[in-house]
Symmetry: D2
């Protein structure tokens, strides 16, 4: 622990800046040594607050900077592939915010690069896998605590959506978290997707189909229904009820403090994912740093990123056509069989 | 209250015998004066325990017996129509266990008989409308407490199914309760049905498709998903979460007593609908008796029975075909517009 | 069930009028045949709404009226003893609102009258014993579900107190319910009382000591702490957590419907005991009517009324002196040993 | 963050070893450079697992070792004072496990040493102040969310007590946490203590008075009742319900995952404080390290340790005498007025 892992952070927007702060504040054994962002002023400002970190507008330059031993990618999705490939050229461990790539083809190219290296170096930032409640649910399912899973009933709600949010993004940006969580919790691939939409909420911006119900079928015969509602108004909420052959388990009710006042009992609903999943982000980063120091991956890998992209693509097709759409995956390469 | 309503009970199986006991025990102002059942021994035994009630093997004879002022029908579904028509001939108020009739055609004939009389006399035994939690949810929705409803997420679980239960009955016998509850809660008709089935639970009897996910679309653009699972093993459970434009409301968690013991906290899940809905059955009967004494209906009527039958029929078609199926309803007669 | 029990109702204030309605509405096999109240206009009005009931200003006259087979006493506490003794002279079953009598001496005289008759005819209106949650807790304790009870932690909260409420009444009128509930749940007598008072709430009327903490010690070595808070502002709430040698059980959280809205999750707190204990009042009356028809008592009897009065008396002394006060009881007569 | 804080850890028993692991695993910017323990083998083993840490049997030697910039004391209570005074001689920041000292006299000497230095350097390990739920409750109270606090109802339960546990330790070792939490939550001093004991649980070891009810009165007129039960059998549980003039707030129910199975719903109760308060220990250490690097204290200080010791002393006297006992505090020195 006396030597610290030197990290290059690619992208210094909301998520990237958050990761920079997180590394400084809560992660031992790591420090940011280079940052990259096309916005030259912003990147200089971020680097200026860090002791001895270099600022770059070119991701490749940051990745090649002295002292860089690992790469954290938080740039927009379309920029991920190129940055990952630069990191892989130098055999550096990567933590890449989701999505790995916007489409399955890009993810396949990342997998091909890893195949050539003969090892997995890329981890995808599906942080729910690091959340204490999800971990408890996963343990319960793996231990057979409620028998073979039959359903996952999922709710994914945001207070309101940003102005740039589209109907497609409800699936590719939001439900993609449930896609990964379902694949991980069940240990199964998604084989088909259907999308149904009630009449949109009057609180949704003009033209946005919100909320929607996304149905996933899995290779083991389970059914996953996801309510995605990004303008629910009352809070940020991620719930999952697993129904198995002998019982059910539900997470995400979050009843830490119960208040009674003004004729009512209850509590606050978290307003933001950064609050709900703060610990999960911390743990994700600590585990990645610890694994990266040993050249390992400690979470979802490029295959998981690929599968999520493939399900997203099928989901968007299902939403457009209104009918059930099959998910097509390439055969899983040996490198990604665990 | 000094004169009591004379009731003929048609059918003395489990539900019929239950109603007889209920009238004696908890309903003031009513008494059973005639009972009918094809099983002559059973009907004599039931009548023998009642003070001055006559026993019949022919429903028509029981309905025509002296002192009969109202008719409660708890015989098997296929026998309902004939008994109802006998009662309507005599202009007697009827409480008929669900389903009103097994198919929409029979229900239409019942409606036609009422149309000729010019008044509604038939009430259907959808007892959830009399449950305190459902009533609270209905009040909240009607008051706009969570805005326009977008989703109803429903869970309907039984410990295990009786030996005669078929895959069709999950829809026509079980989900029919959600069909009525959804129509009532939302004040909308169901317009389309889809049915998806995960791989059946190994706890389900050979050949039974259990559990299933039934999706209802409504005239107001809401979406209703129903998990029906009749061999869940752990208890009888009916839950409903309404999601509106500005909030959600959930009933059916039933946390009356919380016990901590042996490393766990929690409570018991009811094992049976007679426990969960005991009060609802009591209230249904009391309200019907009070309304019947004034020649009125105090709950779901023949139109509701017809609509439920029509959705059931579409649901069975959807389950067989695997595709979304439209529900077709006749125009709602003036008598049933409220 | 064809003959109905004729009831005289003594007192037609809030509680009495409530009971009259309840008998008419939800209790089969009973009807009010006489009512008494010192307020001649009010009693005539109440009787006028009942079919064939006589109105009296003298309780004794109502009890002696034709057709009276049982007596329900809902007059103020100081008037109870005389009415009970009139009823016992005629060997009529009595349901008497709590307190049986304001002091232990009066209760002893009632017990003496029953001893002379050689049978118990008096039941006290501690309705919590008829509440479904309390019954469940009692069953659990009796079955040893959490081992020998060590503590009862009780909360008893009202939105606000009526203008005539005094600091003594927090104990004699409110905590008396916990006294009976504790004796019944534990099957033990209370042996000592202590009272502690935090600085009173600024929401309490001038001069009222509110809230208070009342501590009861029992013959079996259990400890009962009662928070009594009659101006809590947010709702009516009665909670009880039993702590046993191997677990705990809590009732009174009342989470029937959970709503999420405006950044919060939770539900409504009942505002009134008539809402919270509506079913308990119904059941109490039905059971009393059924038992009275057979000349029996179906709930707390005169001994329970006596013990509650004795604990109240000790509690008031403890509140005044600020020190722990012993409860003194006469030896339990054979008639009241069960 | 590039230079790391060198820490001497005094005591390498369960708590000390835990802290050593915690510093290595989750705290950035700090490392253990010296360890001390009278058990020479154990201390060598612990030091051996650390890169470049020296091992000592004498606390003073460890504190004086090269590179030591802060001291963490986890030795038995009676050894605290001497170690603290050694650290203060060198003006080193101290994190001392509770109790600061076993008696108020020792705490006063620590305060005197700080007074001479003219600054506060000692922090006491009351980790609940760093727990997320407690913090939320504190915020709510400080913001007046439920009005002026009137009661704190506290539950403190352990599965079972270690063999060396005495009846006194229920107060001095366990309830001392509630003493600090109450003082902190309310911002008031404890002025009097009473102790009541039900008949001990049969699960408690011979001679141990367990459970007990400890009552604290505070300078602002609030009342705190603490159920301490160290052999409850079912789990580790710390709950607190604050009752204010306009509402209540409860923490410690911990309902992260709800499972339904085998006829029951509910979840697991944590079995150990290291699980329940794992995050609080982490945060305490991180905050102390960050504050120590700037020569500050980031939590309860020597005055808090002194006050806790004084309340403990009064509590033990109250337990022995059976009567309410006043707490006597010296006047609060200027250094500790915030």
């Amino acid at each position: 622990m006396t030597s610290t892992l030197g990290i290059a952070v690619i992208g210094t927007g909301k998520m990237g800046a958050d990761h920079v702060r997180r590394i400084g504040r809560t992660v031992g054994g790591a420090r940011v040594v280079a940052v990259a962002d096309p916005d030259g002023d912003r990147v200089k400002e971020v680097a200026g607050r860090l002791d001895g970190a270099s600022a770059h507008t070119d991701p490749a330059a940051a990745i090649a900077a002295p002292g860089v031993q690992a790469v954290l990618i938080a740039s927009p999705g379309p920029a991920h592939e190129e940055a990952i490939l630069h990191a892989l050229e130098r055999e550096l461990p990567v933590l890449c915010e989701k999505p790995l790539t916007p489409d399955p083809a890009g993810a396949l190219r990342v997998m091909e690069a890893e195949r050539r290296l003969g090892r997995r170096l890329v981890q995808v930032g599906f942080m729910r896998r690091h959340d204490a409640e999800y971990e408890r649910l996963k343990e319960l399912l793996d231990a057979g605590g409620i028998g073979r899973p039959l359903f996952l009933h999922c709710r994914h709600r945001n207070v309101s959506s940003p102005s740039f949010f589209t109907s497609d993004m409800l699936i590719s940006d939001s439900v993609v978290h449930e896609v990964d969580a379902a694949r991980w919790l069940l240990g199964q691939e998604v084989t088909a997707v259907s999308v149904l939409s009630p009449r949109s909420s009057s609180a949704a911006p003009e033209g946005l189909r919100d909320p929607r119900l996304v149905l996933l079928e899995t290779s083991g015969g389970a059914l996953v229904d996801v309510e995605i509602f990004v303008n629910c108004g009352f809070g940020y909420q991620v719930q999952c009820e697993a129904v198995g052959e002998s019982g059910t388990a539900r997470i995400g009710d979050g009843q830490a403090m119960v208040v009674q006042s003004g004729g009512r009992w209850g509590g606050e609903v978290d307003q933001d994912f950064t609050v709900r999943f703060a610990d999960a982000y911390d743990r994700q980063l600590r585990r990645w740093v610890a694994a990266a120091a040993r050249g390992r991956v400690a979470g979802p890998d490029a295959w998981d990123g690929y599968a999520a992209a493939a399900v997203s693509e099928a989901g968007l097709a299902a939403a457009r056509s209104g009918v059930r759409t099959l998910v097509e995956l390439v055969e899983r390469p040996a490198l990604y069989r665990r």
